[in-house]
Subunit: 232 residues, 2 copies
């Protein structure tokens, strides 16, 4: 409770066209440098210099270096949705839709694997507004959960009615797990993460199907009760 310097200033959106332009310039420069040199080796001074502004100016738009990461999240989320569109349009099988959306997410992240690890570090901080569980990330998180709601809604899958409302969030949580594995994945091209998706999706599919069986009802109940307890 007594901990953390966690940047608080949300550093409001620019109010003028000039401001918006500068903001974009800084973001674009930062993203380029992150990709070129990695997060740790990209200094705020370098970003400012390459963008042709003063250091303090960057802090006018972004409360901290970490806040630049949030921009990365937002962009990735939008790209993810776009990349998932074709599969969601084409397939109606639950497993196929889920696998498609998961692969789309990793597709979008792959070019950033080298520096995404550093991002992850700050994202993992529970008190950080950058945490995927934080209030500040509520927007992107809800969007992401919505994506998995779509996976479910557009599918022919039959799901236990008690489980159904919780499933999108659970799938998102599973996706967070996949991303966690991906961040740690040192195999070439993160091939193992692909195998994780292909291996885990059928299991999830089977599990979701089994949830309707009378025999497993008590277990399903037990799981749901636990989830409800753990929710905020």
């Amino acid at each position: 409770m007594t901990e953390q310097t966690a940047p608080t200033t949300a550093a409001g959106e620019p109010a003028t066209a000039r401001g918006e332009q500068t903001r974009q310039l800084i973001v674009d420069t930062a993203m380029r440098l992150f990709r070129e040199r990695g997060y740790a080796r990209t200094t705020m001074r370098a970003i400012a210099q390459e963008a042709g502004v003063a250091v303090g100016n960057a802090y006018y738009y972004f409360g901290s270096k970490e806040h630049l990461i949030q921009e990365f999240y937002a962009r990735s989320q939008v790209e993810h949705r776009a990349a998932a569109e074709p599969v969601l349009h084409r397939e109606d099988d639950f497993a196929a839709r889920l696998a498609g959306v998961l692969h789309a997410g990793i597709d979008v992240l792959t070019p950033s694997h080298s520096f995404a690890a550093s991002f992850f570090k700050t994202a993992a901080e529970p008190t950080s507004p950058l945490s995927p569980f934080s209030a500040e990330s509520s927007g992107p998180r809800q969007a992401a959960i919505g994506l998995f709601a779509e996976v479910l809604d557009g599918s022919t899958a039959r799901v236990d009615p008690e489980l159904r409302p919780h499933l999108p969030e659970l799938l998102w949580l599973a996706y967070m797990g996949v991303v966690l594995y991906w961040v740690y994945d040192r195999s070439p091209g993160q091939a193992r993460t692909r195998k994780l998706i292909d291996g885990a999706v059928p299991l999830v599919d089977r599990l979701v199907g089994l949830s309707r069986l009378r025999v497993l009802r008590p277990v399903t109940r037990q799981v749901l009760d636990l989830i409800r307890t753990l929710r905020h």
Copy 2:
């Protein structure tokens, strides 16, 4: 690959009694200040000053501020084992043993909850030697996995023979999940984490039991295959 300044110098053990004494002095001071002010607000200068040594001296024993955290891990691991001893001696039911060991782990960590969050941040960095999955953490990790092997071995549980050799590591992984939840747990006294343990243990117990059923053999196989694929 091109990323990260990750501290490399293992900063060898002291070779003399004088060195050992100084090292202990620095660790003790650091742990006290971490507890008092939190990790972020404890500066290396403050640690050095309170310990009555020069800043550079701390760096002679610890490659970085983060390396002081590793000391915390090591201590916690030893305490965990000690705290788990009574339960392991008393119980022979798998679920009771598992719950006991998990609760013991959280018992040990609880006094440090306020600043453990900051620790977690650096631990989460995949390239960091402080990561629980890193080579440098191999020692404490193996010790922890060994603890869960003991949970299993000393129990009357009957387990699918194919699953059995993998189970200690899987239980450790589950424990990491519990710790992850605990770090994020903002409920008073982290009561929710306790409920997570009490709720999840029976499920794990049931699942482990079910793994022997003929009907579920294919699923068990599928899971094991996936695990093998994902292993290094």
